[in-house]
Amino acid sequence: MSKEQMLKFTDIKLNQPEKRATTARSSDFKEIYLSDSLKKTRNQASRCSQCGVPYCQSHCPLHNNIPDWLMLTTHGRLKEAYDLSQQTNAFPEICGRICPQDRLCEGNCVIEQSGHGTVTIGSIEKYITDTAWNEGWINTISPIKECPEEVAIIGAGPGGLAAAATLRKNGIQVTIFDKYDRPGGLLTYGIPSFKLEKEIVQRRVQHLKESGVKFNMNCNVGCDIEFKDITEKYHATIIAIGVYKARSFENLAGERSNVVRALDYLTASNRKGFGDEVPEFDTGNLNAYGKKIVVIGGGDTAMDCVRTAIRQGASSVKCFYRRDKSNMPGSQREVQNAEEEGVKFVWLTSPKGFKSDDNLTKGIEVTKMRLGLVDNTGRQLSEEIDGTMYVEKADLFIKALGFDPEDIQNLWNCPEMEFTRWGTIKTNFRTHLTNIKNVYAIGDITRGASLVVWAIRDGQEAANQIVKNLHSKNDIAAE
C-alpha cells in the first residue's frame, strides 16, 4: 500500500465530484452527483492540511474526526477510515450527501479559508461509507451482551434512528413508534431523492431492523397509544418527533387550494417515488407538471421544492426571498444547483398578499426589500421599499416558510411537560433530559427546525446518557 503524502493542497487543485448534466438530471429524481473514483477520492483527501486545530471538526456538530479519516483514505485504508467515521456518526453516508458542508466542515476548512479551495469532505465521507456497504464491512450490530432494559423512541427520523443505533451497540432493547408508514422521517418523506435516494435510507432502516430495533409504524402517539403508557412501560423514552407545523403568512388573505405547504408537496412527490397511490398528486394539486410555480422562502426546504418542481416538469419556477443571496439560510451550493437547473431566484422580495378568484389563487402580490442595519445575530434586517409592489402570476404557490412544533402538550395529554416560549420541549442541553423522569427529547422538537446532523448528534448523546444512567444504576445495585 503506497504512502502518499498529505498536505498536497499546494499541488492538487480542488475538484468537487462531477454533477450530471442539467438536462439529464432535471428530468429524473436520481442523485445529481456522480461517484468519484477511488483514485480521485484519495487524491482529493491528500489535499488535507492535517491541521493542529481542525476547524472542520470544530464546526461539525458531530465532531467527526475528519482529518484522521482523510489521512486514512489517502493511504487507501478505507476500512479503517470507515471504522473511524462511523464511531462518531451513525449514518455517515447520509451526512455525506445532505449536510450543508459549505456551511459546516468544508466552509471552515482552513485551506478553504485561506483561499486554496476546500477539501471535498462530504463526498469523501460518502465514498468511504458507500464502499463499506459495497464491501460488506457493515455488519449488524452485535453488542457484547444483551441488556434487559428497554427504551422507547418516538419518531423514526434521523435523531430517533441514531439514538436507536447507539442504544443497540450497548445492548439495550429499542422500540420505535412513528406515525408514518415508513421509517426515516424527513429523510424518507421530506428530502427529495435527487439529494438522498430512498434506497440509502431504507438500507439503514433495514440494518437497524436486522440489528434488533423494533419498529411500531403507523402509530400516532396520543391517538393510537397514550404517551403515559409508553413512559410507564419503558425504562426510558426519547421524544424525537421533529417539527411539522408549517409556518404560514400572518394576515395574508386570499389563499386557495393551489397555495400549498412545502412538506405536503415534497411528501407527495416522495411517495410517488415509492410508487404509492397519492390522490392529491394525481389530481394535480401537488404536481407541478406544466405549471408556473412560485416558491416562497430561502431555506433548504424551499430549495428542495423548486428543484422538485423542475423535475416534475414545471413550465417555470421562481423563488421569492426577502433577503439577498448572501443572507439566505439555505446552502449556497443548493442555490447554485437550482440555478443550473433553471430556477429563477428573486431576491429581496417579500409577499404581501394573494390575488385569487373563488377557486384558485392567480397571483401573489410582492414588494421589493432592502437590507438595513445588522441585528445582534449579525444578520441584516430587511425593510420594504415603498412603491415597489407588483403581482407575480403563477399556477401553484408553495410556502416554504419553516416549521414550528406541534402542540404536543395537548395532543399527548402531558400537561406536566415543560416547554420553551417557542413551543419546543425544554431539555438539559447536555443530558437531553426533559423535566419528566427518564424522558429525553432530541432534535428539532427541542431545537426548532434544524439540520439532520444535529438530530443525529442529539440522538447519539441522549442514547449515551441513557446508557450511562442505566449503568450507574446497575453499579449501585451491584454494590
Partner: protein, 1511 residues
C-alpha cells in the same frame, strides 16, 4: 568596610534554608565554573619559581571569576603546593619544640568556627583525638597569618578561623601508609562533623597543602602572606579560580580540593552519586582493611559536583590506583566508536574501565595531584580549553588559557593544547614528563586488560531468530487501549519510527494542560520533565558528534570498584538498552537460572486491591530473588488481563531500583523491564533514568507487527524493529545529549528529571533525589487512573482506539488552550479593533478548565478599586511588550517585517530571531515605518551576526535555549533557504543550515560572561539579554548570569513555539514559566541581584490576566509570540515544518506567502488589548502602575488545588516572598551595566587621525591574556563612521601586537582593520569576523617549529561571516565552527574542525583532529595530507573528499597559501609553495555534498591522475 556581623551570616543562612525548604530554590542546583591550571617542575626539584608562577597565574585569570555585589567578594580561589618542610620546621622551633627530622611531617589546613570559641575548642579536640587515636603525635597548632583587608565584606563575615595542625609520623609508617592513614583520619573527622561545615580540613597530608578562600584570584597571596615567604618552595603548584552561581560565600567550596581542581561541570553527577551509593557497599579495598567503613560515605552530602568528583577520585587513588589511571577510569576518553584510530590495548583498557564504573561525564578540565603525580586532563568532548607549554628549564605549565604565566618565548620548547580525553602528566618520582600517548601506552600495558576484556560477553554477537509478536487482534487492541494508546500515538509517533527510523517532527508549542491538570488519562511519563543544560554546561550534538555518544549497556553482577582484576569483566554488554521480543527471549534464555521474573500487576478480585501493596510485594520479591542468588530481574506487566491491572512500569522500576539501592543490592543484578506503555523515546528515558537496565517495548512491537499484517508497512518485523530501535536510540541520545551526558551508563538511575505534579511524599519514597516542588498526584490517584484505563480496555467493546488529541487538537482528546473559537475571536478583535470582542475572547479563555498552573491562582487586591484613568497609560504599558525571537526563515519575510513595524510603532520591541536581518531594514520605509527589530538575537548558529547587525539595535539577546526544545539545536531545511535567506545568512540557496545545540563559545558561565563582554564591546550602548528556559535551577543560573553583567534575563516557558522540533521535545522538556520565573525572582532577590537586571518572561501569555500574574511573579516585560502570529492570521495548522503554511505566516513558498493577510495594525491592536486589559485589572485591585505589582507574589493566592483525586497540589513554593523583596526598586529603563575597557580604548585614543580623517595608521602594543576582545569596539566605530561595506584598505588601521592575546582576539573585526599578532592567542580568535584581517605568527624569539605547536585556541572563527585569518601554527578544537564566509589558513587543528561550516574557505596545512567537517553544508576545505591519514578523520556524512584536480580550485587554494606565507612568513607554506607541482597532489579537497549542484566549477575532472575519492 561595612561590618557585617554574625547576625548577618545567620540571617543569610536562615534565609537560604527557608527559601530552599519552602520556595523554588534548591541548594543542589548551584553551579560553578572556573579557571584552572598547574605548574610543575619536570625534574622534581622544588623551587620558589614554581610557586611564584602559580601566584602570577592566578593574577591572570581574574576575568574567569566573578565578583559579588560588594565588588570585592570573589567566588573563591586557591593554590595547592608541596609542603615546604623547612618553613614548618621553623614554625615548630618557634613553639619551642625541635622537629623530629627523621620522621615525616604532615600539615593539616583547618577551617574552624571563628567567633564561637567553645565550638572552636570542640573542633580542635575532635581533630587532635583522631590523630592521636591513629597513633601519630602532634607538634601543635599554628594560627595562619591572614590579611583580611583584601576581603569583601561578605567574605570577611563568613571567614573561618584558619589554623594549621602540625603532625609528626611518630609511628614511623612509610609515606604511602602515612598518607592513607591521614586520609582515614580526615574522613573520621568529617564523619563526626557531618552536619556542619564549621570544621573543614582543606588538606591533611604529609605531601602537600592547600591555601584557599573566598577572595579574588589575584589576592590569594595577599590574604595568605605565607605564600610570599621565600621558604615556600615546591615542585608543583595547582591553582584555581572559581566562578559560581552561588553568592553566599562558602569558604570550603573554594578549590582546589584535596586532589583535583576542576573547571567545568559533571553533568552525570546525579547518576554517579546514586551508583556510588551502591558501589560503596561492596567496596572493600585491601588497602583500607579495617578502615573501610570509616571512609564511607565517600561523598559527603552537600558537596558540589567538583567536590564529589574529588572525593571519589581521592578514594580511588588512596586505594592504590595512580592519578592517571584514576582519571582514565572516571573520565575516560570516548572509545567505542573510534576503533580505527585507537590501539587495541587502549580499547581493552577502556572496555575494562567501562565494566567497572560509570564515567563521570561532563565538560571538565582537570588539574590533579596526589603529591607524586601531577597531571592535567580533559573529558571526552574536550569542551574546556587546556593549553600547555614545556620550557627549556624543565617546567610544564598548563592552564585554561595560554599566557597566564609569562615565559620567555626563547625558552619555550613546546606549546600545545590537550585534545578530548587527553592527559599530560609529570611523574615526580621518576622525574619524567609523559604525553598522552606515552601515558596511555604505559597504563594499558600495566595490567592484563586484554585478558580481562575477553571475559566480556557481547550479546549483540549472539544469534537471534526473527522478531515476533506476542499479541494480535482483539487481545492486542484491548492491551493497546488499556495502555493508553491512541490512534495518534500509532500514526504520528510510532509509525514514523518504525518506518524510517526517525522521530516525528512537529511545530508550534505545547498548549495542553500539565499532566496533573488534565482530565484525560496520561501515562506516568508525562509527569517527568527532562532536564537540559543551559549556560553552565553545554548540550551535545548527538547527531554530528555521535562519536562521543554511547548507549553501551552492561549488565551482570557489578563488582567491587576498588579491585583490579578479571572478575570485574564477567559481564554482558549490549549496544543499546532497547530489546526486541526475540532478543528479549534469547536473553532470558541465556540468563537461564539466573533470572527471576516478577509480575507487575495486581489482581482486581482481591478484596483489597491496592497499588501500594503491589509495589511492596514487588520490592520484597526482588530483594528475595537477589538474596537467593538471582543476577537478573525481569519486571513485566505482560501478565495483565481482564482481572489483572498493570502497575505503571515507571513506578515499578523505580520502586525496585531505589529499594535495591537502599538495601545495597542494586549492583548484584540487572533490571530488565517489559512495558506496554513504553512507546516513545521519552518513556524509555524515564525508565532508564529510574534505573532500568534494558527495556522491551513489547506492545509497541506488537503494534508494529499489526501494521505489517495490515500491509501498512512493507518488509519484515525484524527490519522494522531495527528502524524503531534506531529511532529510540537516537531519541535517547538526544535526551541525554540535552543534559550534556554522552554515556547511557551514567544516565541510568540518575533521574535527570523534574517531576511536575507528582506527590512529594510519593517521589520521596519511590523516586528519591528527584525534585517535585509543587507536589500533586499520589499513589491513590494513580491507582484510580490505572483502574479506569484498564476498564476501558478490558470491559468495553471498542473497535477502534481513542483518536488522540495530545499533539493535535481533537474534540474527544486533550484540551488545547488555542481552539478554533478562541483564535477566531482573537482574530476578529484584532481585525476590527474591537476591545469588546477581545473581552469576550478573554472571558472564553478564562472559562476553560485549568490548563496552566496560574489558572489555579487568583489575584488579591492591593487597595480599593480606582478609576481606570488613574492607572498608567496604555502607551506606558505597551512598551513592556516584546515579540520573542522568531527568525526570518521560520516566518515569512512579510510576517517578520510586520511584527517589527508593529512593535516599533508603539515603542515596544520585536526580536529579529536567529538568522540576521535584511540590511534594507536599517533604513525607514517610505511611509516612515521602521522595519528593523530593536532586539537582535545572537543564537548558536550565529547566522548573519555581523558587526553591522550587532550595531543596529537597542538590545542584543543571547538565546541560550528555546522553550520548545531546550538543549537542542535546529535545522533549516534546504527547501526553506530562499535567495533572501541565503543572502542574510551568508549561505547558499537551497542548502540546509544547522544551528548547533550549544553556543560553541559558551561551555560554562564564565564563557557567557566573555560573550556578554564581547557584545558590550562591539555595541557600546545596547543592553544584553540572556534567554533561558524555565527549569529547576534556572534561578541559580540567573544569578550567575546577573553576575556575568547581563542586563535582562528572559525566562521562557516550555510551551513556547517552534518552527520544527521533535514532537517529544516540545512535550517533555522544560518547565512552565511560572515555576522558572518565580525561582529566578526568589534567588535573585535572595542574592541582592534582583535590581541589577530586568526580568522578562514568555510562553503562552494569552490574556491581560496572564500578564498581571507574570508581573506579580516578578516579570517586568512580557513576550507575546503565538498570539501575535494568530493576530497575523496563524490558525495553528501546526505544519510549520512542511513549508506549506496555508496562511503565509510560516512559509517561504512564494504562492503561499501571497495568502498572508496580517498587518501591523492587527498586531498593534493585539498589544493594545493586552495593555488595556492589564489597566482594567490594575484599576480593579487599586494599583496605579504595573511596577507597583512586580514581584508581589503576596497578591496571588491559590484558589484551586486541582482535581479531587490528587494528594495535594501546592503552589505555595512559587508564592514565597523573599524578605525585603517588597521594597525592591526596579527600574527597567536604567542604563546598562558597564564592562571593563579593553585595549581598544587606548587604540581609539591613539588612532584619532584614522577615525577623523581615515588616515592610514599603524599602532603597536604588547598584550597579555588579560587583554580580551581586542578589535570589537574599534570595529563598532568603523561601522558607524565608514560603514561595514566601506572602501578602506585592508590594513588602513593596523595593530601590531606582541605577546599572548586574551580571548576573542579580533572579534567582529570589520574591513579596514588588520591585527597582526606576534606570539599566541587564546580561544575565540576571529569570533564573528566581519571582514577584517587577522594574522598570528610565533614571536620572533621563538625557537619552535610553528606547525607542531598550538598558536591559537579553541573555537576560532565561530560564526565568522567574512574576512581572513592566517595563523602560523596549529589551532585548537572546533576550528572554524559555523564559519560562513571567512577564508583561513592554519597549520593544523584539533577535533571537530569546520563543523557546521556553511561558507568560506579553510586551508589546513597540518594534521587535523577527528570528526572533521561534521554537519558542514557549505564552503570548502583543503587539507594538506602528505601521509594520507586525514581522510579517516573526516566525518563523511555530509561532505565528499577528493583530490584537487580542477584549476579553479587549485588557484583558490594556492593563492590563499601564498597570502598565508606573505602574512605570517610561514616556513611550511613557503616549503609547499616551492614544490607546488608535486605538493599539490598532497592536498585533499573537502566539499559539502549539498553544494555540488551550486558550484561555479566542477569539483573534479574525470582524470586518472586526480585519484578521485568520493565517499
Amino acid at each position: 568596610m561595612k561590618n557585617l556581623n554574625n547576625e548577618w551570616v545567620s540571617k543569610q543562612k536562615a534565609l537560604r534554608e527557608y527559601i530552599s525548604n519552602y520556595g523554588m530554590y534548591r541548594e543542589e542546583n548551584e553551579h560553578s565554573s572556573c579557571g584552572v591550571g598547574l605548574v610543575v617542575s619536570i625534574d622534581a626539584i622544588p623551587s620558589r619559581q614554581v610557586v611564584e608562577y602559580g601566584i602570577a597565574a592566578l593574577k591572570a585569570v581574574w576575568h574567569r571569576g566573578a565578583v559579588d555585589a560588594d565588588g570585592k567578594t570573589g567566588d573563591g580561589a586557591g593554590i595547592h603546593i608541596q609542603i615546604p618542610v623547612p618553613f614548618f620546621y621553623d614554625q615548630i622551633r618557634r613553639t619551642g619544640h625541635e622537629p623530629k627530622m627523621n620522621e615525616l611531617i604532615a600539615v593539616g589546613m583547618v577551617f574552624l568556627p571563628r567567633t564561637d570559641f567553645s565550638a572552636q575548642e570542640t573542633c580542635r579536640t575532635i581533630v587532635e583525638s583522631e590523630i592521636l587515636k591513629m597513633g601519630y603525635s602532634i607538634y601543635g597548632w599554628r594560627q595562619v597569618p591572614v590579611n583580611v583587608s583584601c576581603l569583601g565584606e561578605k567574605a570577611n563575615s563568613t571567614r573561618p578561623e584558619i589554623e594549621q595542625i602540625l603532625i609528626s609520623n611518630s609511628k614511623g609508617a612509610d609515606e604511602e601508609t602515612f598518607e592513607r592513614e591521614l586520609y582515614v583520619i580526615r574522613r573520621r573527622i568529617e564523619k563526626q562533623t557531618i552536619n556542619t561545615r564549621d570544621l573543614y580540613l582543606a588538606s591533611l597530608s604529609c605531601r602537600s597543602i592547600i591555601y584557599k578562600g573566598m577572595m579574588l584570584a589575584e589576592q590569594v597571596a595577599e590574604f595568605y602572606p605565607d605564600l610570599l615567604d621565600d621558604r615556600f618552595q615546591s615542585t608543583f603548584v595547582l591553582y584555581h579560580q572559581r566562578y559560581s552561581t552561588n553568592t553566599f560565600p562558602e569558604w570550603w567550596l573554594a578549590q582546589p580540593f584535596r586532589m583535583l581542581a576542576h573547571n567545568g561541570e559533571i553533568n552525570t553527577i546525579k547518576g554517579n552519586l546514586n551508583w556510588m551509593k551502591s558501589h560503596e557497599i561492596r567496596m572493600a579495598g585491601a588497602s583500607f582493611g579495617d578502615f573501610a567503613e570509616d571512609i564511607k560515605p565517600i561523598v559527603p552530602s552537600g558537596s558540589s559536583d567538583s567536590a564529589a568528583l574529588d572525593a571519589v577520585f581521592e578514594m580511588m587513588v588512596r586505594a592504590g590506583r595512580n592519578v592517571p589511571m584514576a582519571k582514565t577510569m572516571m573520565v575516560p576518553e570516548s572509545w567505542s566508536k573510534l576503533t580505527v584510530e585507537m590501539p587495541k590495548k587502549w580499547q581493552n583498557m577502556y572496555a575494562y574501565c567501562n565494566s567497572v564504573m560509570e564515567p563521570w561525564d561532563g565538560p571538565a578540565a582537570l588539574a590533579m595531584t596526589d603529591g607524586r603525580w601531577v597531571a592535567a586532563g580533559l573529558d571526552r568532548s574536550g569542551l574546556r580549553p587546556m593549553r600547555y607549554v614545556v620550557t627549556a628549564d624543565n617546567l610544564l605549565i598548563a592552564g585554561s588559557e595560554a599566557g597566564m604565566v609569562s615565559v620567555e618565548e626563547a625558552k619555550v620548547i613546546e606549546k600545545g593544547a590537550l585534545g578530548p580525553g587527553q592527559m599530560i602528566a609529570v611523574d615526580l618520582t621518576r622525574a619524567i614528563l609523559l604525553h598522552d600517548k606515552d601515558l596511555k601506552d604505559e597504563l594499558s600495558s600495566s595490567l592484563p586488560f586484554g585478558d580481562w576484556a575477553k571475559k566480556i560477553t557481547d550479546l549483540e554477537k549472539v544469534k537471534i531468530g526473527n522478531e515476533f509478536e506476542y499479541f494480535t487482534g482483539d487481545e492486542l487492541r484491548r492491551r493497546q487501549i488499556s495502555a493508553g494508546y491512541s490512534n495518534e500515538d500509532l500514526e504520528i509517533i510510532l509509525s514514523p519510527m518504525a518506518e524510517s527510523g526517525k522521530e516525528a517532527i512537529a511545530s508550534m508549542g505545547d498548549d495542553t494542560p500539565s499532566a496533573v491538570l488534565s482530565k484525560q488519562y496520561r501515562p506516568l511519563s508525562h509527569y517527568f520533565r527532562q532536564n537540559f543544560s543551559q549556560v553552565t554546561n553545554p548540550p551535545i550534538d548527538s547527531l554530528r558528534e555521535n562519536r562521543v555518544m554511547s548507549l553501551k549497556t552492561r549488565f551482570g553482577n557489578l563488582k567491587n570498584v576498588l579491585d583490579q582484576d578479571g572478575s570485574q569483566t564477567e559481564i554482558l554488554v549490549l549496544d543499546s538498552p532497547f530489546i526486541g521480543n526475540a532478543k528479549f527471549s534469547k536473553m532470558v534464555e541465556i540468563f537461564g537460572e539466573d533470572v527471576t521474573t516478577i509480575d507487575c500487576t495486581f489482581d482486581l478480585n482481591f478484596k483489597e486491591i491496592s497499588l501500594a501493596k503491589a509495589l511492596e510485594r514487588i520490592k520484597v520479591d526482588s530483594e528475595d530473588a537477589i538474596r537467593s542468588g538471582a543476577g537478573h530481574i525481569v519486571l513485566t506487566d505482560k501478565m495483565q488481563n481482564s482481572d489483572k491491572v498493570p502497575i505503571p512500569m515507571i513506578l515499578a522500576t523505580s520502586a525496585v531500583h531505589s529499594w535495591l539501592t537502599k538495601r545495597g543490592l542494586r549492583t548484584f543484578c540487572s533490571i530488565n523491564v517489559q512495558s506496554a506503555e513504553c512507546i516513545d523515546p521519552h518513556y524509555f528515558a524515564v525508565l532508564i533514568g529510574c534505573g532500568a537496565t534494558t527495556i522491551n517495548p513489547y506492545l509497541a512491537q506488537d503494534s508494529i507487527a499489526d501494521r505489517i499484517k495490515r500491509n501498512l508497512l512493507t518488509g519484515t518485523l525484524t527490519e522494522h524493529i531495527k528502524c524503531y530501535q534506531e529511532a529510540i536510540d537516537q531519541g535517547l541520545l538526544k535526551i541525554m545529549a540535552k543534559m550534556g551526558i554522552s554515556v547511557v551508563s551514567s544516565y541510568r538511575g540518575g533521574l535527570n528529571f523534574e517531576a511536575v505534579g507528582l506527590s512529594r511524599s510519593m517521589v520521596a519514597e519511590y523516586f528519591p533525589g528527584m525534585q517535585s516542588r509543587i507536589s500533586g498526584i499520589g499513589i491513590s490517584g494513580i491507582q484510580r487512573q490505572v483502574l479506569e484505563i484498564h476498564k476501558k480496555g478490558w470491559d468495553i467493546k471498542q473497535d477502534v482506539l481513542p483518536i488522540g488529541g495530545f499533539y493535535k487538537s481533537r474534540k474527544s482528546g486533550e484540551k488545547h488552550a488555542w481552539e478554533a473559537k478562541s483564535m477566531h475571536m482573537l482574530q476578529v478583535a484584532c481585525q476590527k479593533a474591537s476591545f469588546d470582542i477581545w473581552k469576550k475572547y478573554s472571558k472564553n479563555v478564562l472559562s476553560n478548565s485549568p490548563i496552566h498552573l496560574r489558572d489555579l491562582l487568583d489575584i488579591k487586591s492591593l487597595r480599593d478599586p480606582i478609576s481606570v484613568d488613574e492607572v498608567e497609560s496604555i502607551t506606558a504599558i505597551r512598551k513592556r511588550f516584546v515579540t520573542p525571537g522568531m527568525s526570518l526563515g521560520a516566518l515569512s519575510p512579510e510576517a517578520h517585517k510586520t511584527l517589527n513595524i508593529a512593535m516599533n510603532r508603539i515603542g515596544a520591541k520585536s526580536d529579529s530571531g536567529e538568522g540576521g536581518e535584511d540590511p534594507q531594514h536599517f533604513y525607514p520605509d517610505p511611509n516612515g515605518d521602521n522595519p528593523s527589530a530593536k532586539i537582535k538575537q545572537v543564537a548558536s548558529g550565529r547566522f548573519g551576526v555581523t558587526a553591522e547587525y550587532l550595531n543596529q539595535c537597542e538590545e542584543l539577546e543571547i538565546k541560550v535555549a528555546q522553550g520548545a526544545k531546550p538543549g537542542e539545536g535546529g535545522q533549516l531545511p534546504g527547501m526553506k533557504v530562499t535567495e533572501l535567506i541565503a543572502r542574510l545568512r551568508y549561505s547558499t540557496k537551497g542548502v540546509t543550515l544547522i544551528s548547533p545545540p550549544p553556543h560553541h563559545d559558551i561551555y560554562s558561565i564564565e564563557d557567557l560572561a566573555q560573550l556578554i563582554y564581547d557584545l558590550k564591546q562591539v555595541n557600546p550602548v545596547c543592553k544584553v539579554t540572556v534567554k533561558l528556559v524555565a527549569a529547576s535551577g534556572v534561578g541559580t543560573i540567573a544569578a550567575g548570569v546577573a553576575k556575568a553583567k547581563a542586563d535582562i534575563i528572559l525566562i521562557s516557558g516550555h510551551n513556547g513555539g517552534t518552527g520544527a522540533s521533535p514532537a517529544t521535545s516540545i512535550k517533555y522538556a522544560g518547565l512552565p514559566w511560572e515555576m522558572g520565573l518565580t525561582e529566578a525572582h526568589q534567588v535573585l532577590s535572595m542574592n541582592n541581584l534582583r535590581d541589577r537586571i530586568t526580568l522578562r518572561t514568555d510562553g503562552g501569555l494569552r490574556t491581560g490576566r496572564d500578564i498581571v500574574i507574570a508581573a506579580m511573579m516578578g516579570a517586568e516585560e512580557f513576550g507575546i509570540g503565538t498570539a501575535a502570529l494568530i493576530a497575523m492570521g496563524c490558525i495553528m495548522v501546526r505544519q510549520c515544518q512542511s513549508n506549506t503554511c496555508p496562511v503565509g505566516v510560516c512559509t517561504q513558498d512564494e504562492n503561499l506567502r501571497e495568502k498572508f493577510s496580517g498587518s501591523a495594525d492587527k498586531v498593534v491592536n493585539l498589544i493594545t488589548f493586552y495593555a488595556q486589559e492589564v489597566r482594567e485589572i490594575l484599576a480593579g485591585i487599586g494599583a496605579y502602575s504595573l511596577n507597583e505589582v512586580v514581584g508581589r507574589v503576596d497578591l496571588l493566592h491559590q484558589v484551586s488545588r486541582g482535581a479531587a483525586h490528587l494528594d495535594d497540589l501546592d503552589l505555595n513554593p512559587m508564592l514565597i516572598m523573599v524578605d525585603g523583596a517588597k521594597e525592591l526598586k526596579l527600574d527597567r529603563l536604567r542604563s546598562r551595566t558597564e564592562v571593563d575597557e579593553t585595549l581598544d580604548y587606548q587604540v581609539i585614543h591613539d588612532a584619532e587621525r584614522f577615525f577623523e580623517n581615515g588616515e592610514k595608521i599603524q599602532l603597536s602594543y604588547s598584550v597579555r591574556n588579560t587583554n580580551r576582545t581586542i578589535g570589537a569596539r574599534i570595529s563598532s566605530h568603523v561601522v558607524k563612521i565608514f560603514g561595514m561595506q566601506n572602501k578602506l584598505q585592508p590594513d588602513q588601521l593596523t595593530l601590531m601586537l606582541t605577546g599572548s592575546a586574551g580571548q576573542s582576539l579580533g572579534a567582529f573585526l570589520v574591513p579596514g582593520i588588520k591585527i597582526q599578532l606576534n606570539g599566541e592567542a587564546n580561544d575565540y580568535v576571529g569570533k564573528g569576523l566581519s571582514g577584517g584581517l587577522i594574522s598570528v605568527r610565533p614571536s620572533i624569539e621563538s625557537t619552535l617549529i610553528a606547525q607542531n605547536n598550538t598558536i591559537i585556541g579553541n573555537t576560532v572563527l565561530y560564526g565568522a561571516t567574512s574576512g581572513k585569518l592566517f595563523a602560523s601554527g596549529r589551532a585548537g578544537e572546533r576550528f572554524a565552527v559555523r564559519n560562513s564566509g571567512a577564508n583561513v589558513v592554519v597549520e593544523g587543528c584539533g577535533t571537530n574542525g569546520c563543523e557546521y561550516m556553511t561558507g568560506g574557505v579553510a586551508v589546513i596545512l597540518g594534521e587535523i583532529g577527528a570528526n572533521f567537517g561534521a554537519g558542514m553544508t557549505g564552503g570548502m576545505a583543503y587539507l594538506y595530507d602528505p601521509d594520507q591519514v586525514a581522510e579517516r578523520q573526516v566525518n563523511s556524512e555530509s561532505v565528499m573528499v577528493c583530490n584537487v584536480s580542477v584549476d579553479y580550485w587549485e588557484t583558490q587554494l594556492k593563492s590563499l597559501i601564498i597570502e598565508h606565507a606573505d602574512e605570517t612568513n610561514s616556513m611550511k607554506a613557503t616549503n609547499i609553495l616551492e614544490n607546488w607541482d608535486t605538493e599539490k597532489f598532497s592536498f585533499l579537497q573537502i566539499c559539502p555534498k549539498e553544494m555540488l549542484g551550486h558550484l561555479p566549477f566542477p569539483i573534479y575532472v574525470d582524470d586518472a591522475k586526480a585519484r578521485v575519492k568520493i565517499n
